[in-house]
C-alpha cells in the first residue's frame, strides 16, 4: 500500500496518462510497475544506461529521476520503437549483425541511438560516442553494436545529404 500517494500526469509513448506514485518513487520503478518493462534496472546509480528513456526527446536515466519530476513531460520508452514482428531499422541491424548477447543493455542502447538520430544530422564518430558512452554492455559486444549503428547512421546521413 502506498504511504503517501500522489498523482503524476505525463505523456507516455504518445498517450497522456495519470499514475499514482509516491514522492520518492523513481521513474524506472513506476514504468516497470505499470508494465513498461523494456527499461531495465542495472546499477540504479546513473552509470550503466540500461534504464535509458527519452524525456522530451532527450535521453535520461530513469533510475535517477523521480516520477514526480516528469509531470507534464513527454516520456518515450523502448516499447514505442518497433515490435518483434516489425523491428525498427536499428533493431533489425542489431539482429542481422548478431550484436545482441544477453540483451540487457539493448533497450537503453536503442533509446540513446534514437536520441542521436532524432537530434543530430551529422554522425561523426565523436558525436556518436557522445550519445552512446552512457550505455555499458556487460557482455562487451560494443564492436557489433557500433557496426550495426554505423550502418544505420551512414544510410541516414546519405539520405540527409540527398534531400
Amino acid at each position: 500500500m502506498k504511504k503517501n500517494p500522489q498523482t503524476v500526469q505525463f505523456t507516455i509513448n504518445g498517450e497522456s496518462k495519470t499514475f499514482i506514485t509516491e514522492p520518492d518513487e523513481k521513474l524506472l520503478d513506476l514504468l516497470r510497475r505499470e508494465g513498461y518493462k523494456g527499461a531495465k534496472f542495472g546499477c540504479g546509480q546513473g552509470t550503466c544506461g540500461s534504464c535509458t528513456v527519452l524525456m522530451d526527446g532527450r535521453a535520461v536515466y530513469s533510475c535517477l529521476l523521480y516520477a514526480m519530476q516528469v509531470e507534464g513531460h513527454e516520456i518515450r520508452t523502448i516499447e514505442s520503437i518497433g515490435t518483434h514482428d516489425n523491428p525498427s531499422e536499428f533493431q533489425q541491424e542489431l539482429i542481422d549483425g548478431g550484436a545482441v548477447q544477453c540483451g540487457y543493455c539493448i533497450p537503453g542502447m536503442i533509446m540513446s541511438a534514437t536520441a542521436l538520430m532524432e537530434n543530430e544530422t551529422h554522425f561523426d564518430d565523436e558525436t556518436v560516442r557522445e550519445y552512446m558512452d552512457g550505455n555499458l554492455c556487460r557482455c562487451t559486444g560494443y564492436e557489433k553494436i557500433w557496426s550495426a549503428l554505423r550502418r544505420v547512421l551512414d544510410r541516414q546521413e546519405a539520405q540527409n545529404t540527398q534531400s
Binding site: G46, V60, Q69
Partner: protein, 281 residues
C-alpha cells in the same frame, strides 16, 4: 535523502516561502541527480525549482547569464563568440546525466569531484542568489567555503554570470579521468589576460585531488608580468605544491596527484595561450 512530499511552486517567491516554512525539512530539487550521493535518508520535502523560468543562457552586458536550472547539455551546446563553458560541460559524466543535471545543482552543494566550480573560479564568475532581493557574489567569495551553507534560509541560486572573454583573454581547462564518464582525477582551469605577449593577470583554479576547489595563488604569481611562453608555464606549474597539499584520489598517490596537477596546469596554460591567440571556434 528520502522525499516525503513534493512541491511545485509557481513562482520564485512562492518557492522561497515554501523553503522558509519548511526549514531543515525542505530541500531544493533541480535535476535531482545528486540525491543519490546524499545517502543519509533524512525525510525531506522536495521543492522543485525547474518550472520557474530559470533555464536559459543569454548575453547580458559583459557577461553571459546562465539560469540556475539550465541543464549542462544546454551549456555544452550553446555557442557564442569566445564562449568557453562548453568544453568542461562535455567532460562531465554522460549525456544522460548532462540532460538532467543543472549548473545550480553542480555548484550549490559542491562535491569533491565537481568540475564547474573550478572553471567558474578561474573565469571570475558571479553567482546571483535570491532571498528577499537578489545578491551577487564573486566566485572567490561564493566558493570560499561549502556554498550549501548559503542556502539554509530559503535562499535560491537564480543565475550565474560568466564574464564574456575579450580578445586578449585566453581560457583553458583540463579534466583528467580514466574513462570519459569517470570522476575527475584532477581538474584545472586557467584564464590569462595578455598585453601582447606579456601576462597581465592570471586566474588558475584546481579541483579533485584537493579537499575543495580553489585558486592557486603561487602559480598565478609566477605568471604575472612574464611572457606567455612554455618555459614560464612550466616553471609556474611547479609551484602547485606550495598552494595546496595534493592528496590521494581515485586510487592515485598524493605524489602522483601533484605530478598530474603540474602537467595539467601546463596543459591548461598552453590551451589558454592558444585561445588568446585565436582558437578555432
Amino acid at each position: 535523502m528520502k522525499l516525503c512530499e513534493f512541491l511545485r511552486p509557481a513562482s520564485l517567491s512562492a518557492a522561497r516561502d515554501n523553503l522558509r516554512e519548511l526549514g531543515t525539512k525542505g530541500m531544493i530539487l533541480a535535476g535531482g541527480t545528486a540525491l543519490h550521493f546524499m545517502q543519509d535518508h533524512t525525510p525531506v520535502t522536495a521543492v522543485d525549482i525547474t518550472r520557474l523560468g530559470l533555464s536559459y543562457i543569454r548575453p547580458d552586458g559583459n557577461f553571459y547569464r546562465i539560469g540556475a536550472t539550465t541543464p549542462l547539455s544546454d551549456i555544452q551546446r550553446y555557442r557564442a563568440p569566445r564562449w568557453a563553458m562548453h568544453e568542461i560541460c562535455r567532460r562531465i559524466s554522460t549525456h544522460q546525466i548532462r540532460n538532467v543535471s543543472t549548473i545550480g545543482g553542480n555548484i550549490c552543494r559542491v562535491f569533491p569531484w565537481a568540475d564547474l566550480p573550478v572553471v567558474l573560479l578561474a573565469m571570475n564568475a558571479r553567482m546571483v542568489v535570491y532571498s528577499d532581493h537578489e545578491n551577487e557574489y564573486s566566485a572567490d567569495e561564493y566558493f570560499a567555503t561549502q556554498p550549501a551553507k548559503r542556502f539554509l534560509d530559503g535562499n535560491i541560486l537564480t543565475s550565474v554570470k560568466v564574464p564574456a572573454l575579450q580578445a586578449h583573454h585566453g581560457f583553458g581547462s583540463v579534466k583528467v579521468s580514466r574513462t570519459t564518464a569517470a570522476f575527475s582525477m584532477v581538474t584545472i582551469a586557467a584564464v590569462l589576460e595578455l598585453d601582447g605577449s606579456i601576462i597581465q593577470s592570471a586566474r588558475i583554479a584546481a579541483g579533485s585531488a584537493i579537499p575543495f576547489p580553489r585558486r592557486l595563488p603561487n602559480v598565478e604569481a609566477a605568471l604575472v608580468g612574464k611572457e606567455a611562453v612554455s618555459e614560464v608555464f612550466k616553471e609556474a606549474s611547479t609551484k602547485a605544491a606550495r598552494d595546496v597539499p595534493w592528496r590521494s584520489c581515485e586510487g592515485q598517490s598524493p605524489e602522483y596527484s601533484q605530478h598530474l596537477a603540474e602537467v595539467s596546469i601546463l596543459d591548461a596554460l598552453e590551451r589558454a595561450a592558444t585561445f588568446a591567440h585565436g582558437r578555432a571556434e
